[in-house]
Symmetry: C2
Subunit: 441 residues, 2 copies
Amino acid sequence: MHRLITPTALLLLIFGSSAQFTQAQQTPAIDKRYTDEIKKLADQPAVKKAFQTFIDLEPQTKQDLITLTETPSPPFKEQVRAKKFAAMMKEAGADSVWIDEVSNVLAKRKGRSGKKTIIVEAHLDTVFPEGTDVKVKQKGDTLYAPGVGDDTRGLTAVLAVLKGMEKAGIETDADVLFVGAVGEEGLGDLRGVKHLLRKDGGIKPDSYIAVDGDGISSITHRGLGSHRYRVTFKGPGGHSYGSFGIVNPHSALGKAIYYFTTDADKVTRQGVKTTYSVSVIGGGTSVNAIPYESWAEIDMRSESPEKLNEVDQILQNSVQRALKDENSLKRQGPDLTVEVKKIGDRPSGRTDATAAIVQRAMAVSKYLNAEPQLEVASTNANAPISLGIPTVTIGSGGIGGGEHALNEWWLNDKGYLGMQRILLLLLAEAGIDKSGGTAAK
Amino acid sequence: MHRLITPTALLLLIFGSSAQFTQAQQTPAIDKRYTDEIKKLADQPAVKKAFQTFIDLEPQTKQDLITLTETPSPPFKEQVRAKKFAAMMKEAGADSVWIDEVSNVLAKRKGRSGKKTIIVEAHLDTVFPEGTDVKVKQKGDTLYAPGVGDDTRGLTAVLAVLKGMEKAGIETDADVLFVGAVGEEGLGDLRGVKHLLRKDGGIKPDSYIAVDGDGISSITHRGLGSHRYRVTFKGPGGHSYGSFGIVNPHSALGKAIYYFTTDADKVTRQGVKTTYSVSVIGGGTSVNAIPYESWAEIDMRSESPEKLNEVDQILQNSVQRALKDENSLKRQGPDLTVEVKKIGDRPSGRTDATAAIVQRAMAVSKYLNAEPQLEVASTNANAPISLGIPTVTIGSGGIGGGEHALNEWWLNDKGYLGMQRILLLLLAEAGIDKSGGTAAK
C-alpha cells in the first residue's frame, strides 16, 4: 500500500504499478467501550503471553521475512511463494491449510463456536516483474529488497500472529482464516480477494482485517475505487491522400477525449475527490497513413461509488458520441467501430468510522501509544468494504519506505507492536473465551 | 513515384514510405506547333542516330540497371550509389561531373550558347532500409529487385540519353545538367532537389525534367504538396490520483485533434482536393499516471498551396487553442507547453497544361504512339514547380510494378522508347543547332 506521494511515487509510476494510494483523514472520537474492551483484552494472561512470544520470535520472524522476500512473487506468478507460505502456516499450527484455484493461501484456525469467520489477510504478490533481483541486503538494522515491506512483512506478521496464538493457547469463538492473497497490485486488480469473496461459492466473513503497510497508526477504512478502460476505435485504414474521406480512428479518439475531459472536469469540481486521467494513447503506423486503430487507457478514481459511476458514464457517453460524430463525417468506406474494455475495477466504499472494527482499531493504536490515523486507500480492503463487510487495512509495524521501488526497505523498529496490534483487533472481532470475553460483540 | 493505389499501396504503408501519389487528369488539346516541332526534331539525322543508339545499347543499359540496383541506396545513405553513378556519367562523356554537399550527382554537358540550363534528373534513393536484399532476380524477361524500377531505371535512362547524345554528336544550345538526386522518398522530403535549387547558391534552371515512373504516357505537371508535423504537448506528469489537477498532455492533444478535424473537415469539402490525417499518436507510460508527454504526427496534402496553407493554419490555431484551454482547466502545477515541429514540407503547385514543356511532353507521347496522361503527384518536380520553373515528371519507359515493395519489378517492354521520349523533350527544351532547330523557343 501507499500512504503518501513521496519521491518513491515517481518510481511507482515507472514500475507501472498499483492503484494504491492513501490520504490521511481527521480522526473522530473513540467510544469508551472500545477503549475499555481493548484494555481488558490486553490484560488477559494468554494475550500477554502471546505478546511476549512475538518478541521472543523476532529472530525467526526476521528469517521468515528474508526467506519469503527472496522467493519471487511477481504479478500473476505467486505460486511458488504461495506454496512456501502455505507450508509455513501449516507448521505454525493451523488446523487446515489449502491453496485455492487462483493460488490464494488459506489457513484455518477453528474457533469454539465457529459461528462467525474473521479473515486476517496479507497479500502474496509484489509489483516486481520476473527476474528482479530480490536478494535481501542488510545495512545496519535495515533490510533492503524489492517487496520486503510491501507486503512480505505483512505475510510474516500474519504468520507470527498465528504462532503467538498457538504458543499462548488462545481460543477464539469465531473461526479465523489467515490468508495470503494473490493479485493485490496493479493489473492484479484485487483478483485474489475478489475470488475469495466471490458471490458464487466464496467465503462470507463477518469481518476482514487486511494487513498492508507499516507502523501501527494507519487504519484504512475507506476504499478508493477505480475503473480503468482501454478504448479502441477501429477503421479500415488507408493512404492519407488516396483513401481520404474514410473514417479516422484518431479523429474519433480525439473527439472522445475532448468530450470526456470537458464533461468530467465539471462534475469533479465539487464533492468527494474524484479523478480521471487519459493516461496512455497509441495507434498508427506511418505519417502518410490513416490509422486502422487508435486506443487510449483511461483511469478514474473515487471513494464514492456514485461519483465513480458518474465519471464512468461520462466516458461511455463520450465514446459513443465520438463514434457517431466521426461516422457522420465520413465521405467513403465502412463505419468506425469501437471497443470499450474494462481493464481494472476496484470497488469503492467505506466502513463507517463509528463501526466497531474501526473503533477497535483506533483503540488498539491508542493502547499501544500510537496515534490512530484514518485513511482512504486502494487495498484489498476495497473488495470486502464494497460488499458491506466490516473491514480495515492496518499496518504490520516497524518502519518502511520505497514501496514499489527497487530500493524498498523495512526496519524492525519495535516491529512486535505490529503483531500485538493485529492480535488485539483480531481477538476483539473473533471473541475469546467467556471468562475474559470481549465487551462489544 | 506512384500513380495508382494498387495492392502495393498497402506495402507502401507498411514500408512507411513516401508522399508519392498520383492521380490521372483529363488531357487537354495539344497545340499543333508542338506536334510539328517534335516531328521535325525526330526527323533530324542525329536524333535518328541517337534513337538507334538506345536500341543498340540495351544490353549495356540492362547491365547498368543491375549494377546500380545492386548498389544499395537507402534513405540518407545514397553516397555509394552516387559515386558509382558519377563514374558512369563521366565515362559516358559528360564534360564535368561532381558530387555536391548532400551527395547529389551533377553531370554537365555544355551547350553551344550555354545561356540556358535544362535539368534532366532521376533520383538516387530508394525507400528500402539498409540491409535489404537488393540482388536482382530475372524471371523470363522481368527483373525483380527492390528499387529496380523506382528509380534506378530512371537513372539508367538518363545515363543512356547522355550516351546517345554523345554517340550521335548532338549539340544543344542550352547547357544540360544530368542529375542523380538524393532524398526524394519519404522522410528524404525532397532534400536533394531542394538543395539543388536552393535560393542561396543553387542552380536556376530554365526548365526541369524529372524522370520517375515507367511507361511513356504519364506527365506529372502538378505537384501534390504536403506538410507534415509532429505536435508534442508536455507537462510535469504525475500520479493519476495524487497529482490530479495538474495539466494532462493527452487531454490537450484530444482537444487539438477535435478542433483541427472539426474545422479542417469544413474547409476540405469544397474546391481542390485537400486532405488531412492525424496518422500516429503516442505518449504515456502507465494507466495510473498522468503522462508527461502526448504527441501526434499529422499529414496534410493539396495541389493548391493556398488550400494547404489554410489547413496548416487551422492546425496551428487548434494546437494553440487546445494549449490555452487545457491550461485554463488546471487546478495545480505548471502550465503545459507545446512544440510544433515540421517534419515534412513538399511544396505544391502546377505547371500549366498550356505551358510549352507540358505541351511538348504530350506531343512526344503522341509521336511515340502513346496516349499522354496529365497527372498530379508528389515527386521531385514539386520543388521546381513551386519555384515557377517549367517542370514535368515523365516515366522512363518499359513496364514496372510493386514500387516500394520487396517484390518490385521492371520489364524492358520497348524500354528504348523511354530514352527517345526523354531525348525529344530535352532537345525541344534545350534547342539544337540552327539548321534543324526547334520551333518554339
